[in-house]
């Protein structure tokens, strides 16, 4: 299991109800069920992935977070997970609103567009960055709203969202982000992982 999932899993308390939005092939859901006794539901857009999840005995609904989150009642989960898909929505703001409506807390991970290699790529090559976390070209990328760790920090304070935990991931190195080291972490982290709650 990838490091990102390990970090997410560590943020989740045992015996809770979790919604994994964009759950993919269900690796994280299965891990949470087996190790944390979590009662989880998944929402996944790919039919192929839904089939894989079903074969693992996971309860996954085929659907799109932008139109299908509305079916879940208010606060029906303790955690909602959104792994590296925020940037692909037409309206990320609304998706976050919805996440924090259906769930008390949300765990959101973003590929950091402020990472130094991405900045260098754009600065020196003058073309849109392509890397491990952003594997597509500009013309076929699903990403519509790229943001940086700093952008997400600013977004949360503007939207009155509490940032409980902010974790930076660079390769296998995990570190906490705070207001003091924000600019530094924004430059040297590939991924930001945030545990948020409405104020």
């Amino acid at each position: 299991m990838k490091k990102e999932f390990q970090i997410i899993s560590d943020l989740i308390k045992n015996d809770t109800r979790v919604l994994d939005v964009g759950c993919g092939d269900g690796i994280l859901m299965k891990h949470l069920k087996e190790n944390k006794n979590v009662d989880s539901r998944g929402l996944e857009i790919s039919k192929e992935n839904v089939q894989i999840c079903i074969s693992k005995g996971l309860s996954v609904i085929e659907g799109d977070a932008e139109s299908d989150l509305k079916q879940f009642p208010d606060l029906s989960f303790e955690y909602a997970i959104l792994g590296q898909t925020l940037q692909a929505f037409y309206n990320p703001e609304k998706v976050i609103d919805d996440l924090l409506r259906v769930s008390k807390k949300a765990i959101i991970t973003i590929p950091n567009f402020g990472y130094w290699k991405i900045r260098i790529h754009l600065l020196l090559k003058g073309t849109m960055p392509v890397n491990k976390h952003l594997p597509n070209e500009w013309y076929n990328t699903p990403n519509l709203h790229m943001c940086t760790i700093k952008d997400f920090f600013n977004f949360c304070s503007k939207k009155n969202i509490n940032l409980f935990r902010s974790i930076a991931l660079h390769e296998e190195n995990v570190s906490e982000i705070n207001n003091k080291n924000l600019s530094f972490k924004n430059l040297f982290s590939e991924l930001g992982i945030f545990l948020v709650e409405k104020k």
């Binding site: 009662d39 539901r41 839904v50 089939q51 996954v60 609904i61 079916q71 009642p73 029906s76």
Partner: protein, 372 residues
């Protein structure tokens, strides 16, 4: 419809109060089973048939000598593996393959009940079938499953008996029959009743039955089970055993010939009055209304794990209506999975060889049989 004496039946002595207000008792419920019930009695699956189905889910149907209606899905080494699961299916009440229906002989008049048979509902159907589960002394089924009207029975079953199944698979169905659904059923009923041989339902005592009307009903319904694309691909404008149009009303086109064939084989195996009663039961189905406008309440008590399946080209019970069920289940905090299967085969997809569909059921059952 010979051989009917040989079908398996239980006689339900316990009175059953029907939605119409009438109470029935000592009535027959015909059924068939496949596979073996294990000692723990935890491997039983109750399959519900659709409008024109019957209890003969798989293998050779002894009445029609054709394959059972769910032969692709159910059987030894099939997705619903009868080496592992014990599959039970009952002929619904109102049906014509041995269960209490318009063909049942009235003990007083010694004549077939015909239209003296009470109007029954999906609720009545499942309330009758729970007796079969009691008969097998099964506390908790492993699963209930069905497509179309079978799916409606799944929903009603879980609402009525929330603790009698571990999993539930409603396929290509709805929680509330739409105006379009009712309209199409009414078309079929009017075709039957417009046939002079229908004779207000009293045809069973004479030699002639309303075959023409029933056949037209079947032809119209059959179109609704297919998709436009599927029809176009299979038939297009192809002509039937002729090189050119004949400028007549014969079956020039293959699609005409196909529909006529579907109509004519149907009348050999199905009863016109049963068709009236069962379509009526479908039209009356409105689980939303039963639960005072809130479908979620139907599922509040259930701990079952649900798996809802719809098909992209199904315009009779479209994905949107299946999703309403998913939404209601989520609102009730139920455990639910959902997939829409890609298929050009229309509503009939659940009966056909649609590999993604068959795989999804197999995976769901196998994974959950291990963990539940």
């Amino acid at each position: 419809m010979n051989n009917l004496d040989k079908v398996k039946k239980i006689v339900i002595e316990k009175p059953l109060k029907l939605d119409c207000g009438k109470t029935i008792s000592n009535f027959p419920l015909a059924y068939e089973t496949y596979g073996k019930l294990n000692e723990k009695k935890d491997n039983a699956i109750l399959a519900f048939h659709a409008l024109t189905g019957d209890q003969f889910v798989t293998g050779i149907n002894p009445i029609t000598n054709k394959n059972g209606w769910w032969s692709y899905l159910v059987g030894p080494d099939k997705p619903v593996d009868t080496n592992k699961f014990f599959v039970i299916c009952a002929n619904v009440i109102g049906g014509c393959i041995g269960s209490y229906g318009p063909n049942t002989i009235d003990p007083i008049t010694k004549k077939k009940l015909a239209t003296n048979f009470p109007v029954i509902t999906i609720n009545d159907m499942v309330n009758a079938q729970i007796n079969l589960i009691d008969f097998f002394k099964i506390d908790k089924l492993f699963s209930v499953m069905g497509g179309s009207m079978g799916g409606m029975q799944v929903l009603q079953f879980v609402a009525n008996f929330p603790n009698r199944t571990k999993t539930a698979i409603p396929i290509a169905c709805t929680a509330s029959h739409s105006a379009q659904n009712i309209a199409l059923n009414e078309l079929g009923r009017q075709a039957i009743m417009a046939d002079v041989n229908w004779n207000k339902g009293d045809y069973l005592n004479s030699e002639c039955s309303p075959d023409k009307g029933l056949s037209v009903a079947r032809m119209a319904a059959h179109i609704t089970y297919l998709s436009k694309k599927g029809l176009q691909e299979k038939f297009g404008r192809k002509l039937q055993e002729r090189d050119d149009l004949k400028f007549s009303f014969d079956a020039d086109f293959q699609i005409e010939s196909y529909l006529r064939h579907q109509g004519s084989v149907f009348v050999d195996r199905f009863d016109a009055n049963s068709y009236l009663y069962i379509t009526r039961a479908m039209d009356y189905f409105d689980l939303v209304k039963q639960y005072n406008g809130n479908l979620s309440n139907a599922f509040k008590e259930s701990k079952a794990k649900f798996f809802i399946i719809s098909f992209t080209s199904d315009w009779l019970y479209p994905t949107s209506e299946n999703k309403e069920i998913v939404i209601a289940l989520n609102a009730a905090g139920a455990n639910v999975g959902f997939i829409e299967i890609n298929s050009d085969k229309g509503h009939d997809s659940f009966l056909l060889d649609v590999p993604e569909f068959l795989k999804s059921i197999k995976n769901f059952l196998d994974a959950n049989y291990k963990i539940l």
